[in-house]
């Protein structure tokens, strides 16, 4: 294949190892095979779910159990963590090298050839063009004719060069760069994808629960987030009628009022020193955006137990000795009550259960079935008496000797927001690449590189024209240029050649 008469470089140089590697990557055929392989393995990877979506402790066992022999093969071949595997990246890398080298190998000769075009071409060359014609004129007439043609061409956006009695009119040369601009876009997209999956801290896709009032570290970032309040707004009666909804409790908005902090240092006690950087009411499609990090409102839990309130009662007299409230996430070791009463928390099980030996054990870090052993000291029990407090369980029998009793009084709840954290630093490169890709497509497809050569020889003007596509349009344009210049060429003398 030739580009503007110049032999493609890869075909003109003897074969040393360097050149063989170069030629391998320069080959369009090789490029297409690489693309096909990437296409096929990418499709393969979607057959079974990828490992990192599943959060498994033993992925191999999972795939074997769920998908049998196929699952085992699939896992063993590495398809379950394919898109970040070294060989998938190697394929992308090869495609990247192929695109870069193939482009360099073609764009440089093309650039040289187009830059060094001669205005005067020989007669045979012009007559070979698909669109060509000639007419006779005189030496006196020719400067006048060329001037008129030039004016008409310039009016149509042609860039005209004259060399004695020859003309070269050229238009939209830049459209020839379209494919290479296109390739540049692809290079950026692939580079972005490779960097995103390879550089730690470029890509993040995590989920976390944040309780109202809680400040939590945003995994993988220097930020901390506080959930000020989580609310659910329902549509009002009037709004429901307006949208003719049957659903009486249609949700209008899930919202987390969030504050984002950045860790600016460490305090002497080892706690992070936080500086508020942003606050934002996050709703479903309106994330908190700070630099490259996005926090999305993704889920919620309503009314989780937070504080449990008890009153101490004297069982004999029925007298109330006051209330105390226990933070289920961070209880105080003891609570002082009026009348000389003290409640010490002897033990606490956030989620009470019993093991095989019927011993009480805790089975969760969330207080969803809290149980306390209180040691209640008071004037009538100076040594203190042990008292279990388990929700919904009357324990009066085991504590029948006790004077005091901790009565469950009240429960304070909080809401919890589920927040999705996403960060993708490669995305800006990928989007820029995609935009450049589109520009390249437009350049290559929408515009055409048109060239018209004219030369005067022995009483004849010979004209030839070339375009990379859109021959009919070029022919029409030439007809109108001729007409405007006062030259009448019969239609049949400017036929589209059958080449």
């Amino acid at each position: 294949m030739r580009y503007e008469g110049a032999v493609r470089r890869s075909q003109s140089i003897n074969k040393s190892i360097v050149n063989q590697i170069w030629n391998f990557f320069s080959s369009v055929r090789v490029g297409i095979y690489i693309i096909l392989i990437i296409l096929i393995v990418s499709i393969m990877g979607t057959i079974l779910p990828q490992e990192h979506f599943l959060a498994l402790t033993n992925p191999k066992a999972f795939y074997i159990e769920k998908y049998g022999v196929f699952g085992e093969i699939f896992y063993t071949l590495g398809f379950t963590r394919m898109y970040t595997s070294w060989w998938y990246k190697a394929l992308l890398g090869m495609l990247l090298i192929s695109i870069i080298i193939a482009s360099l190998d073609r764009v440089i000769p093309l650039y040289r050839a187009l830059k060094n075009q001669t205005v005067r071409k020989n007669k045979a060359f012009l007559m070979q063009q698909r669109i060509h014609t000639q007419w006779s004129t005189t030496a006196d007439e020719i400067p006048y004719q060329l001037q008129k043609l030039q004016n008409a061409m310039k009016k149509r956006g042609y860039n005209v060069r004259q060399d004695a009695q020859a003309l070269l009119a050229e238009k939209a040369r830049f459209s020839r760069w379209g494919p290479y601009v296109n390739h540049l876009g692809l290079i950026m997209i692939i580079t972005g994808a490779l960097l995103m999956t390879s550089i730690p801290g470029w890509y993040l896709d995590k989920f976390m629960w944040v309780q109202e009032g809680e400040i939590k570290h945003v995994t993988g970032t220097p930020y901390y987030v506080k959930n000020e309040r989580f609310t659910i707004d329902l549509y009002s009666e009037a709004e429901l009628q307006k949208i003719k909804s049957e659903n009486q409790s249609a949700v209008k908005r899930y919202q987390t009022d969030a504050i984002l902090y950045e860790k600016v240092g460490e305090m002497p006690n080892g706690q992070p020193d936080l500086k508020q950087v942003m606050n934002h009411p996050m709703t479903v499609n309106d994330p908190l955006r700070y630099k490259k990090v996005r926090l999305y409102q993704a889920d919620y839990k309503l009314s989780e137990w937070k504080n449990m309130c008890f009153s101490i009662i004297n069982k004999k007299t029925g007298e109330k000795h006051g209330d105390f409230s226990v933070d289920l996430y961070n209880p105080e070791p003891s609570y002082e009550l009026p009348n000389g009463l003290t409640v010490v928390i002897q033990d606490y099980f956030p989620y009470l259960s019993f093991n095989e030996d019927q011993e009480p054990i805790n089975i969760s870090s969330k207080p969803e079935n809290p149980a306390f052993i209180f040691l209640i000291k008071g004037p009538e029990a100076p040594e203190g008496e042990l008292s279990w407090a388990i929700i919904g369980t009357p324990l009066d029998e085991i504590h029948s000797e006790n004077v005091y009793k901790a009565n469950f009084k009240d429960l304070e709840t909080v809401n919890t927001s589920g927040i999705k954290i996403s960060m993708n630093k490669g995305m800006s490169i990928i989007w820029t690449g995609a935009a450049i890709f589109m520009i390249g497509i437009a350049m290559g497809l929408y515009w055409q590189h048109r060239r018209i050569w004219l030369c005067y020889e022995d009483g004849n003007v010979i004209m030839g024209a070339h375009t990379n596509k859109g021959w009919v349009g070029l022919r029409k344009e030439i007809m109108s240029i001729m007409k405007e210049s006062g030259l009448h060429i019969p239609d049949d003398q400017l036929q589209l050649g059958g080449k």
């Binding site: 959060a55 970040t84 190697a90 890398g93 090298i97 080298i101 550089i199 961070n330 805790n362 870090s365």
Partner: protein
């Protein structure tokens, strides 16, 4: 002219292969799922012990450290605690220490648990789950073994050294003995 063209090609190919090769090597030698790797310095942290004292991990330098991540709600964590205590008693005079990081529990629950099981090694409370990220802790229990110089040793499985820095799952007597031997000063 030709030799200079070859030189340019060599340079371009070198740049491209280095860039792509570097990216791939990151994937090969740095497992995505591990925040840390064997041989790395153990990420430092300062947390509060059950006695209310600050414990800074890097202050344990000079001792072999068993760094254990656990919770009272995790049955295998509970099961392995007496074993860790046994090894602590056996080797503490030879320069072994244990740092047991409790993940996100309240002090009373942990304190009473330690009391019931007679645990004497330092237990620190990570109420904000700050250590999860730097260590890449997934399922618990998770245990790391740290040399006196502060570096993490690779986990050995069935007599073979792996590239994993964290032992996941319940510790056995053999696992503990095998790894303790490598971290004693």
């Amino acid at each position: 002219m030709r030799s200079s063209r070859t030189t340019i090609r060599v340079i371009i190919l070198l740049i491209l292969f280095t860039a792509v090769g570097y990216t791939i090597s990151r994937t090969l030698f740095y497992n995505d799922y591990n925040a840390i790797n064997p041989g790395d310095l153990a990420p430092d942290f300062t947390l509060t012990t059950l006695d209310g004292l600050k414990l800074k991990l890097s202050d344990t330098k000079g001792k072999g450290v068993i760094l254990n991540f656990w919770g009272t709600y995790c049955p295998p964590c509970v099961t392995e605690m007496p074993l860790i205590e046994e090894k602590y008693q056996k080797y503490k005079d030879q320069g072994l220490t244990v740092v047991a990081v409790n993940i996100a529990e309240n002090k009373i629950t942990v304190d009473r648990f330690a009391h019931r099981y007679g645990l004497t090694f330092p237990i620190v409370l990570d109420s904000k789950r700050e250590t999860i990220d730097p260590y890449g802790i997934g399922p618990m229990p998770a245990t790391l073994f740290i040399r006196p110089d502060g570096t993490i040793i690779p986990i050995e499985m069935q007599g073979k050294q792996t590239d994993r820095p964290i032992f996941e799952g319940q510790l056995t007597d053999k696992v503990l003995e095998d790894h303790i031997r490598k971290i004693l000063p």
